[in-house]
Symmetry: C2
Subunit: 155 residues, 2 copies
Amino acid sequence: MRLTTFSDYALRVLMYAATAGERLITVEETARVYGISRAHLMKVVNILTRMGHLRAVRGRAGGFALARPPADINLGAVVRATEPDFALVECFATHNRCTITGRCRLPGVLNEALGAFLATLDGYSLADILLQADDFALPDGVPARPEAAPSASRG
Amino acid sequence: MRLTTFSDYALRVLMYAATAGERLITVEETARVYGISRAHLMKVVNILTRMGHLRAVRGRAGGFALARPPADINLGAVVRATEPDFALVECFATHNRCTITGRCRLPGVLNEALGAFLATLDGYSLADILLQADDFALPDGVPARPEAAPSASRG
């Protein structure tokens, strides 16, 4: 059982933005911090902006920041929005061909379990998993840009 | 968020075997009932047999049946055994490269949610989702073999 990489990255972007506070961060910086692909993050940031969790500032000195306090960003709501579906088994999905659909009692049980999963996440906000700048292993909380800190050490 | 097809099929095999009762069923018959690949089911039946949920009888008239009462087959235990992992996000997996691992507080929240999911399933056994023979849309509970029932109607 897995969440999509999209949800994983969305949660990471929000965590890093929460730590950055008012400072505008960029997709490039976030990709470097986590060592992940910039292309993947672009779409994640777009969706989070559309959801109202991030605010984007255009232009050369632009970037993005949290649009609301971390306590107002519910983890259950984020995962509900970033997962493409919760099709635990075939009959939950669009192209279901299971022959016992409609009579089977498994979906009820799985839906109850899924509800318990999401209800747990609903009990937490981004504020509950907030990190400090040095948790990202970057000196002084300012991400090391290659040209600015060629010998930046970790820790 | 999805379970694997393997878990899906394992639950279907157990449901069909529970309905068949003492009668030995085969992989071929189960594959036909659900309209799914025989090859996929072979491995599922082998694992369920190894887990002690099914007992296999070899030979020409052989097949398999539940090895224990449906009430003794816990759905949480089945899913725990059939899912290859519960790697909800990257850091739960073997080849984790997330840079904030060890400091991040998200795994604790996700583990709690996963625990709630599995605890719900732990509250149910195969007996709770038992179907009747005609729920499988086959007359008299005996699966229609192509040669035996060329005009078998549904319902």
